[in-house]
């Protein structure tokens, strides 16, 4: 879509939301390489970098670090942000592209299950659905956070 927009001289932007685990896939890096080669500065990839994948920590499964350097080496402009800070995200996403001629990667550092103490950084909650009192407890924690 981003390539198509360039072909059409259209000003629209394309945003892609990626998980960190997804960056294990070779096809992700094929697209990453393609996008910089074709100078797709209308493309923004936001990576939800919560450092946990299906069976455990990313670092112990298939390490991505130095993650930002990988994106840079593939020709992307990288912004590292606190993925939970909406103001920070707003500021950065208002100033796109970060570099003319380069696609932008927003590496959003996040905490999986943020705001619910018993869900934070837990692989279990990749699979579970809160039930009954768990749901109420989670909601209470989220509301009292605000």
């Amino acid at each position: 879509m981003a390539y198509g927009a360039k072909l059409d001289d259209a000003s629209r932007r394309v945003f892609v939301l990626l998980s960190d685990g997804e960056c294990d896939e070779g096809s992700t890096w094929e697209a990453v390489m393609f996008s910089s080669h074709h100078r797709l500065d209308n493309l923004v990839a936001i990576v939800d970098y919560n450092k946990i994948q299906s069976l455990g920590p990313v670092a112990e499964t298939l390490a991505l670090e130095p993650f930002a350097d990988k994106w840079r080496a593939f020709g992307w402009s990288v912004i590292e942000v606190d993925g939970h800070d909406h103001n920070e995200l707003y500021t950065h996403l208002s100033g796109l592209p970060k570099t003319v001629g380069k696609p932008t990667c927003v590496l959003a550092h996040t905490v999986k299950g943020k705001g619910v103490s018993f869900m934070e950084r837990s692989v279990l909650w990749h699979y579970r659905t809160p039930r009954g009192s768990e749901y109420d407890e989670a909601l209470n924690e989220l509301i009292s956070d605000e």
Partner: protein
């Protein structure tokens, strides 16, 4: 089924150091025990199925028997070329295992519905394709796949038929099992949906229709004889698969019959006819929605029989 698969594989791995299990970052809690017991016979390669097949082929060509584990489409379609060129073409001892056959992961949507895997896997030369119907078949198939040379595909289902094995029965890959006798019609089912076929057979008996039920756990090599016998000995064949009707068990039965010059009196493929299964929900819900639950199977049979054989006057299937 996946628990029985892992249990059986663990038993085998204990005495056979060639056995190796690779996962593409799936199997939360299911593989923990195996991983702890056999650290040198286990690897999580990350979410990278294409690389997994390449790695598995390398280890297999060095003498290991490698089981690759992921969900339906990820372990098959995503890395299809690697399965074909790396593993299959070299007759490597790679056993591709897919959990979540058909609508097992129904609530996760189309990306997780495995509805084309059987036809695609069976088109690969020299491939063995197995979809067990119950827990016993799962354990037996796992055991026999270790002994089966070359690249194999094992499709595991969330659902499972109730135990169908007779005392002392011997399971053989490539040999369909007659799990119920009946002369009016044959229900040939593959995978866990065998349970729905048996349920339909129960219902049809009440309607005066006796079904032979075949568990066609092996799609390739195919048990041609069992199908031809079913054509000759029973009134017709209805195939049942939680899979597209294009190229799967139903197609295979049709090809087999035509080529053998045997024509069943009637024939129908129960399976996915809607193209993409864009609905989301439990396995039972999706079977119902897409016309392959026990009631739909019974209805299809009843309609076929009453259309062809006036001697049956049927109450309408529920």
């Amino acid at each position: 089924m996946r628990d029985n698969f892992v249990r059986q594989l663990s038993e085998l791995a204990r005495s056979d150091p060639r056995i190796f299990l690779m996962t593409a970052d799936l199997g939360f809690r299911v593989l923990d025990g195996y991983a702890a017991d056999f650290p040198k016979q286990y690897l999580n390669v990350g979410i990278a199925e294409q690389n997994m097949i390449g790695l598995a082929t390398g280890l297999a060509l060095d003498g290991r028997i490698v089981f690759t584990y992921s969900i339906g489409n990820f372990s098959t379609l995503r890395c299809l070329e690697q399965i074909r060129n790396d593993a299959c073409y070299h007759s490597a001892n790679v056993k591709v295992v897919a959990v979540g056959g058909g609508f097992s992961y129904g609530p996760l949507g189309i990306s997780h519905h495995a509805t084309e895997d059987l036809s695609i896997m069976r088109s690969l030369p020299d491939m063995t394709v197995v979809a067990p119907g119950d827990q016993w078949e799962t354990r037996e198939a796992t055991r026999q796949l270790v002994e089966t040379k070359g690249t194999c595909y094992l499709r595991l289902d969330k659902s499972s038929a109730p135990a169908t094995a007779r005392a002392g029965e011997v399971f053989s890959i490539g040999k369909a099992r007659k799990v119920r006798e009946g002369a009016d019609i044959t229900l040939a089912a593959t995978g866990g949906i065998l349970g729905a076929a048996l349920e339909a057979a129960d219902y049809l008996v009440e309607q005066g229709i006796a079904c032979r039920v075949l568990s066609v756990h092996t799609i390739k090599p195919f048990d041609t004889d069992a199908i031809i016998r079913a054509c000759k000995e029973t009134g017709g064949i209805v195939t049942v698969e939680e899979h597209t009707i294009d190229g799967g068990l139903g197609s295979l039965v049709a090809e087999t019959c035509l080529e053998a010059g045997v024509t069943p009196q009637f024939f129908r493929r129960v399976g996915l006819r809607a193209g993409f299964s864009s609905k989301v929900g439990s396995q039972e819900y999706l079977r119902r929605e897409y016309g392959m639950d026990a009631a739909s199977i019974a209805k299809a049979v009843a309609e076929l029989i009453s259309a062809r054989s006036p001697r049956f006057s049927l109450r309408r299937a529920k």
